[in-house]
Point group: C2
Chain length 337, copies 2
């Protein structure tokens, strides 16, 4: 059973292990600095389908297929799958995974989805309600851009604070028995809303919630940034990352020496049009699965805080003058020695 700390923070004690994982990315992500780390790079942005939405679904299914294969299991061995995505009514997940016919908890956390899926997976295993689960999510540049911003064919210019939604997916298989990495603790995010309403400046909208979550977890567990090899945020990008470090420094929490942001890592800084970096549920999910988890498995990192950051607006809420609420969920991952 967990060790209850309160207000969304708990330690996971019964051995929730990461058994396997896989990251799949699109061409632009494959051309970036992490290109060689992905399990698979899909050159075709339609992934053989007739719409981008169906392509995104296929990315997600492919990530699950690879992670399951790497674990040496079959889909029948999975008790529950946790997934969600950015697209209206989370259709990338629903349609992508329906053929698996696995009990399905669909979640919505925007770009925080990977951490939310890992948390709910941990609850399932920690309470002995499931023995093996999958947490997965995806994003696709073309589905997200169409829905949240402009039609691609409009050819709009990108503002300096904008980020590029990654075409990518990451899937993690968790179990109560096998694996060299375990979930050691979780912090469920609170909604933060600082009144930012510019949908091309998501990093600034998300930084306050990341700051609140990190600070709450460190305080609740009486740990400091130096207890972790890396504090990995989801997709704050360059602007949001600077803001996060500033916000935490004001509270005497210094993460400057071990902070990484998946959005800053996935593209080259001189990559065309990516501006502040990558974003989308698939960004942190694929970077976690393709870079950080392998790093931990090799023994090159013992403790990581994975803090996926999500912006929870919709086109409708923005049209109605709403600001952008954000949420950041945290998962403490530990290498079993």
């Amino acid at each position: 059973m967990s060790e209850y700390i309160g207000q969304g923070v708990f330690r996971v004690n019964s051995g929730v292990k990461i058994e396997s994982y896989a990251g799949v990315a699109g061409k632009k992500e494959g051309d970036g600095p992490l290109g060689s780390h992905f399990d698979k790079v899909i050159e075709d942005s339609h992934f053989g389908k007739d719409t981008w939405e169906k392509a995104e679904s296929r990315f997600q299914l492919e990530a699950v297929r690879l992670a399951v294969q790497k674990a040496g299991i079959t889909k029948e061995d999975i008790d529950v799958i946790c997934s969600g995505d950015l697209i209206n009514q989370c259709i990338s997940s629903t349609y992508g995974l329906k053929e698996l016919s696995i009990p399905f908890l669909e979640i919505f956390g925007a770009c925080s989805t990977m951490a939310e899926g890992l948390i709910i997976s941990s609850l399932l295993i920690e309470s002995r309600s499931a023995k093996r689960t999958v947490a997965v999510t995806s994003s696709h540049f073309s589905t997200a851009e169409r829905q949240f911003r402009f039609p691609l064919s409009y050819g709009g210019q990108r503002t300096p604070t904008s980020q590029w939604t990654c075409t990518a997916s990451g899937a993690v298989v968790l179990s109560d028995c096998n694996g060299l990495i375990e979930v050691a603790g979780c912090c469920i995010g609170k909604t933060a809303d600082m009144g930012i309403s510019d949908i091309t400046n998501m990093g600034s909208a998300m930084a306050p919630s990341a700051s609140e979550t990190i600070k709450r977890y460190l305080t609740a567990t009486s740990t400091s940034p130096s207890d972790y090899n890396y504090i990995v945020t989801g997709d704050l990008g360059t602007v949001g990352s600077e803001l996060l470090k500033e916000l935490l420094l004001k509270q005497n929490v210094d993460i400057t020496s071990n902070h990484c942001d998946c959005g800053c890592m996935i593209f080259d800084t001189n990559s065309k049009d990516t501006q502040c970096g990558g974003s989308g549920c698939g960004c942190s999910a694929s970077v976690l699965c393709s870079y950080f988890l392998p790093l931990m498995e090799k023994g090159s990192a013992e403790n990581i805080l994975f803090v996926a950051t999500g912006a929870l607006m919709s086109p409708m809420s923005i049209q109605q003058g709403g600001s952008i609420p954000s949420i950041s969920h945290l998962v403490h991952l530990r290498r079993i020695l």
Copy 2:
């Protein structure tokens, strides 16, 4: 800890209790047969706000406020809140609950959301990750109709198989200590898709998943329909309810004598334009909180299977020719004697 049965089914053993609950409904629902049962009926469909979306958010916040008040606690006593809704990016939940600043697991289950929230709440408490949670959801006729079907001012005629999205919300406070009703078991739904693509016939799209979930739970727990006072489905309406009973009878499961459907209960059968009955996340949530939970608390029912049914399509997936996948989550509620 739970008793693991597998494939999404588990018994809850540590005492996950329903401490309090509240149901709030709109005028049309208040005029229906359950009108006197709701904690509050809001006559104004805008609930004092300038958009329907903001009104739906307020319904949800009001349900939480009332449930928390009835429990004699404050919002600071709640560790985690689980919520979601039908509107794009679940904005009714995000914007409605953000001022509470409670750790937030946002979920998407369409009209199955109330059961999904109760399941995740149970996992949180069963694993001792939280002591007290809230599960809440809402729907609003005008927000859903605009998003999924036609602009209201278009004045389109309603087909015979259509249902009326309820303007309503229900909230449940769960805890590890107080309450006369407990969560005894859960069955996480699988996605079912029988190829139905008529968005004015949701009952038929959802009945197969309800059938699969009920059959799976009964088989896994070696129980039969007669072990339960009521088997309550979410919002199959009259057409979907008949189909569900037929589908189960073919598998020798007879629920005809104790099946109830919240969608069939919330409006008078001769109510204008409601056709097959009510629907929407708020339908089963408000009927559970205003009718069935009070019934159990009074001791008039000992065992209920609450099976909330959701259709997971989006306007985009329908426009792209997709059919309607559905999911039904089940919660076994038991009166503590």
